[in-house]
């Protein structure tokens, strides 16, 4: 009995060791045989997109028979931490997905390869990408990534609940006031139905309305917070009023228990501001597919802009094969890769004229609006160390959502904390 245990745990330990060392050894082998067969590690965080990305990788390998790409999916909760630690420790991937909000520490550390020459060699016309997203991955006119996809926010609605209440569907001419009035008509406490969802979600909700009210999250030069701007406060109050003044949305506690998208999909919310990225999930759900549709964001006091965001592909300076890594990173965001991704329906490819396939993948929804809104979009706000202040947003705005503090006070506290973090960035 005892021996069995010892043998078992010994075998387990050996197995674990083997498991730990194998990928590294393989990578090293690929490096030592110069010029011949090269291996590149490429890290992503979305299992949903893995098939589409694998198809892009296959296309790259077909064009470059001497390069083998090892695609690694690291779950989102571990992704950023693993990427930072391993790339700083010299054991990271050669190429990886990047978000504008996470770029800062890598640039500060000089960890990324400039891609401008590789882009020029590949003959890619950069004006085919949404301009704001290209700029998101540039510093001092140097490009560190090209956008591989993008997402914008739209007003999704549940036709069944509109029909039941006898309310006309939303149209692109709606304003904030229309949203509130119609949400009131749609709210039916007896049936446990709310007109709209107002979760505390920067990209889907309040970032959009801050800009629509003429405010800003961060100043254009990235040095001061825009949260104490009266227009920004108006953009936030739009959401908190839905809960605390008009009672047309469930409260924050309810969203903490059951996320807004799940409530929307269970027919509890008639409207929800959320992204193009949910088209896949809504299409896969019988109820949502039959009843949901989407339109452009309603106009605020100043404009009807949406926040646009998109992933980029970066290559690491620490790679043993920097030239090939840069080529892979550029290819992963190329017009060809954009086409493959749109065809898959998982995301909107970033390059112009490659997106029709994505629209065609969802005949039941008017997803064309997500492309139409690109022309009136603002890029997702970032600074050199975005997480230092973005991680405080939820915590400090919570009292405004629960009604414990006036929006001015909560937003003012957030502005103070954010200005402190931004001052630390300046060193």
């Amino acid at each position: 009995m005892k021996w069995k245990t010892v043998t078992l745990s010994g075998a387990l330990a050996v197995g674990l060791l083997a498991g730990c060392t194998n990928p590294a050894t393989e990578g090293d082998d690929g490096g030592s045989s110069d010029g011949e067969q090269i291996e590149l590690d490429f890290a992503i965080f979305s299992p949903d997109q893995e098939p589409a990305i694998q198809a892009v990788v296959d296309a790259f390998e077909d064009e470059n028979p001497n390069i083998a790409v090892n695609l690694q999916v690291i779950p989102w909760v571990d992704y950023w931490n693993t990427l930072l630690t391993t790339s700083a420790g010299g054991t990271g991937p050669d190429v990886a997905w990047m978000l504008g909000a996470r770029l800062g520490p890598y640039l500060e550390g000089g960890a990324l390869l400039p891609l401008d020459d590789t882009i020029a060699d590949a003959g890619i016309d950069v004006s085919g990408y949404p301009e704001a997203l290209v700029a998101l991955y540039q510093r001092d006119d140097v490009t560190y990534a090209l956008p591989k996809d993008f997402d914008t926010i739209g007003l999704w609605y549940n036709k069944a609940l509109f029909d039941a209440a006898g309310v006309a569907y939303p149209n692109p001419d709606w304003t904030w006031d229309d949203v509130i009035t119609n949400a009131q008509a749609l709210t039916d406490p007896a049936a446990d139905v709310f007109g709209i969802g107002a979760p505390l979600d920067p990209q889907a909700t309040y970032y959009n309305t801050i800009y629509q009210a003429g405010g800003e999250v961060i100043s254009a030069d990235g040095t001061t917070s825009g949260y104490d701007d009266p227009a920004s406060i108006e953009g936030i109050a739009y959401w908190t009023d839905m809960i605390n003044t008009y009672g047309v949305s469930p409260d924050l506690q309810s969203f903490a228990d059951t996320e807004s998208v799940a409530q929307f999909m269970s027919g509890r919310l008639a409207m929800l501001y959320t992204g193009s990225f949910y088209a896949v999930r809504f299409a896969a759900d019988e109820y949502a597919s039959a009843n949901f549709d989407v339109t452009e964001l309603p106009a605020g006091p100043v404009s009807d802009v949406t926040v646009i965001n998109g992933l980029g592909n970066v290559a690491f300076a620490g790679s043993e094969h920097p030239e090939e890594a840069a080529r892979l990173a550029v290819f992963l965001s190329s017009p060809e890769a954009s086409q493959i991704q749109s065809d898959s329906g998982a995301v909107i490819g970033s390059y112009q004229d490659t997106q029709q396939a994505w629209v065609d993948a969802f005949p039941q929804f008017n997803v064309q609006v997500f492309l139409d809104m690109v022309d009136s979009s603002v890029v997702f706000p970032v600074s050199d160390n975005t997480e230092a202040w973005a991680s405080r947003e939820s915590e400090l705005l919570t009292p405004a959502w629960t009604g414990e503090q006036p929006v001015e006070e909560a937003a003012g506290n957030l502005a103070d904390a954010m200005n402190e973090a931004l001052a630390a960035e300046q060193g």
Binding site: E108, G109, S254, E387
Partner: protein, 306 residues
């Protein structure tokens, strides 16, 4: 057991008096090396990191105690400390519960004893994340099982893990439930070790079940109870997983329920500020040492070693 005894046995000692110490040193060196490499060295590195500033790519330079000042004078630490101690105190209530369960399971002639033991131990071998997801459903304010039961009895309901007044306690209940199995096993072993002769003697003297428990079982079980209490508190001081899965980042109750280790996670891994994370990790260590030292002090008053 027998194999392990032989080298240290009297026969071996008389034959090779000098070999004993050398072999002991060699054999001890292996675990000690492990301790140094995997515990002591990281601890030293953490201490160095806590007085440094820098960037993971460019490296960290020792710059002084600014990080410590920032954490110790900040407004987040006292709140997190209080939350952690409240959580530990509530989870400690699981020890008497485990004791009652252990005594009941120890009863002579109990049927299905094995089945009960398995049932009590099941939460221990279940993944915390899975446990947390099930409890999230039970506690859900709109559709939860608990609220449905309370509503049918006409009792007030709330969003248990999203209400700042209840969230920490709701999570602590799950903590108790998850820890019950481990506590039970240790206490059951303690009960087995109490000789039947003592209990039988008390019975002959006319002691009833309550008297036997208070005068015989409880004092003789006290070393096990002490061990369980110390382990429970140390575990509670490191609570993170349940909070992380059950509350989530935009929960209105988070600010009032955050533990020290959650604070550490936010600084070190969300904001990627490793030096501040190192300070909080060391604060956690010091707090754990102090609380455990207090427990060892107090045990003199109530623990009886037979």
């Amino acid at each position: 057991m027998t194999v392990a005894h032989t080298p240290g046995g009297p026969a071996a000692r008389s034959r090779r008096p000098s070999g004993d110490g050398r072999w002991a040193a060699i054999l001890l060196a292996v675990p000690v090396l492990g301790l140094v490499v995997f515990y002591l060295w990281p601890l030293i590195r953490t201490a160095i990191l806590s007085v440094s500033t820098g960037n993971p790519f460019l490296g960290y330079q020792i710059t002084g105690f600014d990080n410590w000042v920032q954490v110790l004078t900040g407004d987040e630490l006292p709140r997190a400390l209080l939350n952690t101690l409240v959580y530990a105190a509530v989870v400690l209530l699981g020890v008497p519960l485990a004791m009652i369960a252990a005594v009941l399971l120890h009863q002579r002639g109990l049927r299905f004893r094995g089945l009960f033991r398995v049932l009590y131990f099941l939460p221990v071998v279940t993944m915390p994340a899975a446990v947390a997801m099930v409890w999230r459903y039970i506690y859900n304010g709109d559709f939860g099982l608990l609220n449905e039961v309370l509503a049918t009895m006409g009792l007030p309901t709330t969003a248990w893990v999203a209400d700042p007044r209840t969230a920490l306690y709701a999570v602590a209940v799950v903590g108790i439930w998850m820890g019950l199995g481990t506590n039970l096993i240790i206490l059951a072993a303690g009960l087995e070790a109490i000789p039947d002769s003592v209990t039988e003697a008390a019975m002959l003297d006319g002691a009833g079940p309550v008297r036997r428990f208070a005068s015989i079982t409880a004092p003789l079980l006290s070393p096990s109870v002490f061990l369980v209490s110390v382990l429970s508190v140390i575990g509670s001081l490191q609570m993170f997983d349940l909070l992380f899965v059950m509350l989530g980042r935009t929960n209105p109750a988070l600010a009032d329920s955050k533990t020290i280790v959650y604070l550490f996670y936010e600084e070190a891994f969300v904001r990627s500020d490793r030096p501040l994370g190192a300070v909080i990790a060391l604060v956690t260590l010091v707090v754990t040492l102090i609380v455990t030292a207090i427990q060892f002090r107090l045990q003199r008053r109530w623990v009886h070693y037979a």
